[in-house]
Amino acid sequence: MKTGSPLIIGGREIKNRFFLGTGKFKSKADMKKSIIESKVEVVTVAMRRVDTDRHSENILEYLPEGTIIMVNTSGARNAKEAVRIARLAREAADIDWVKIEVINDSKYLLPDNYETVKATETLVSDGFTVLPYMHPDLYAARELQAVGAAAIMPLGSLIGSGQGLEARRFIEVLIAEIDAPIIVDAGIGRPSQAAEAMEIGADGVLANTAVAAAGDSAAMAKAFSMAVEAGRMAYTSKFIPSKELAEASSPLTGFLFDEKQ
């Protein structure tokens, strides 16, 4: 369906399909190095952490030139708060790519799909390029697509857990049924898991903790970038079918058929 086609979000072609979150790094310099070395094009920034008042504290000033900034609505507990945060981002920093993140559970941090749909609808009509983070539910994904989401970001597993593609089967359903790009977000702990997401046909992968909390963040960012690229290349190259058992050409019973022929 999307084989070989470029990834276009908000009218812009994204070549590096690995997206990086900017939280949890040990320093802003470390974050910047990770972006540069992995050649990431799209980053998410939590508006709650953006401090435009002070130069040294302003995360936006550490982003390499040309980086596409997608503000996330981290901290929003409902659609109303998410909309307010996105508008604040536009007013304060002139950013109009927004990752909607509506979470009303501080223990599991699972996204609230109902509120996410509402916020998406409002922000799309405000002219934002909206990428909602969601629990991979087909009905919600259809709604999000219908109200104009630029891409849909289902979680791979619990955010920050590093458990990988626990939700694989449901993400496959979204990949099959939804035309908007699918970016797997949350729970991706290793480059191999990112590659797996790409191999099943996801259009991109977003990670944060796995890179920010790694021993060497810049090297890990690069590893993710390469894995995402490898996974995509594998997906577009068409796999051999996978089978339960080795394929034998009936060496034991073949004679029965041969004789008859």
Partner: protein
């Protein structure tokens, strides 16, 4: 959830390897859930008038200390000073006197604070849901409320008068806060008032109950150790450094996403080590006297507790960076744009704005 017996076993086990192992696990969990980010805040004492008789407290009603509450002008002076040091997250405190510091007074302080701080928390006497709601609308993000001790008999003995004598009313305070819509609740006990394992066990149960019933709230825990002012109170348990560190580690492992605060009532050495193990929020350059930042010399008014870590905000930031942490000043904005939030475009980095042209 851990059992009381298991919790006691851990607190009693001071084997070097066991403690190190606990710390290693706590550190790993902290990095996984919080990365290397530490939030900074400062307390601001608005008033030390109090109607309670907490036997251990420097502000209790019977104690002969000079009482003071800040006027609006004084609040502004204090806030300007704290804000100028770089702090963006303020904790406003009062003694527990509804009469001297009614909700309107607190609301006035919150409105003043909004001019300087993106995020405002309160540590005041327990309020009703409607009152919390009013303060939430005025811009309050968080409330700190300590049960002090969960041992009811001990609670009764230590809080002989005032509204605070009502254990149940205090216990149900976090629930009222949550019902009001306020987004952050910081809970704790005053370590040393009663048997530590029992107090912590009940604190964890209380938090677990809150998490289940009010999942949308961001929770945090504090582990203040009682430091009585000189010659004022002797009937308490000394809580050792090793116990404090183990409590922080256990909290981190049992509640991986919960914030953990450590105030300047702890000395620098403890605070710096605890950062590695689970502490995610620390206060900096705190004054615990009313008017302590701008109005008086720190030693002319009685503090609620003695500050053990007197480092400046700058020194704290340097320490954090040296240890490989990213100090965070802004972690939430209750409001939209305020006056001092200048447009990003004014910084000569226009190339970062709309990298793909206006939509």
């Amino acid at each position: 959830m851990i059992s009381l017996t298991e919790l006691k076993d851990i607190l009693n086990n001071n084997d070097r390897e066991f403690v190190e192992d606990l710390a290693q696990k706590a550190r790993e969990t902290t990095i996984q859930y919080f990365g290397r980010v530490v939030s900074l805040y400062a307390p601001l004492y608005l008033s030390n008038f109090c109607d309670n008789y907490c036997i251990y407290c420097g502000f209790q009603k019977n104690r002969q200390v000079k009482r003071k509450k800040l006027t609006i002008d004084e609040m502004h002076r204090e806030m300007q000073k704290v804000s100028a040091a770089g702090i963006q997250n303020i904790l406003l405190l009062t003694g527990e006197s509804r009469e001297k510091t009614p909700v309107d007074y607190i609301k006035g302080a919150v409105q003043a604070a909004k001019e300087y701080f993106p995020s405002i928390s309160l540590e005041v006497y327990p309020l009703e849901v409607d009152e919390y709601r009013e303060l939430f609308s005025a811009g309050v993000d968080g409330v700190t409320i300590y049960q002090e001790t969960y041992n009811k008999a001990r609670y009764k003995a230590l809080h002989p008068g005032g509204k605070k004598a009502d254990y149940q009313y205090r216990y149900s305070t976090p629930e009222r806060v949550a019902q009001s819509g306020i987004r952050m609740i910081n809970m704790g006990v005053l370590l040393g008032l009663s048997e530590v394992a029992e107090d912590i066990y009940h604190l964890f149960l209380h938090l677990e109950w809150m998490e289940k019933h009010y999942p949308g709230v961001e929770y945090a825990l504090s582990f203040p150790r009682l430091i009585p002012l000189k010659n004022s109170f002797n009937d308490y348990i000394e809580v050792s450094d090793i116990t404090l560190i183990k409590l922080i580690c256990m909290a981190r492992l049992l509640f991986p996403r919960v914030g953990i605060n450590l105030s300047t009532r702890e000395p620098a050495a403890i605070r710096d080590h605890a950062l590695m193990l689970g502490v995610t929020r620390i206060s900096a350059a705190s004054k615990t006297t009313v008017g302590g930042y701008s109005l008086c010399h720190a030693n002319t008014k009685a503090p609620q507790f003695e500050v053990m870590d007197n480092r400046s905000v700058k020194e704290i930031v340097e320490m954090l960076e040296q240890k490989g942490f990213d100090p965070v000043f802004t972690d939430w904005r209750a409001d939209g744009i305020r006056n001092q939030l200048r447009p990003f475009g004014g910084r000569g980095t226009a190339s970062l704005r709309r990298p793909f042209g206006p939509s």
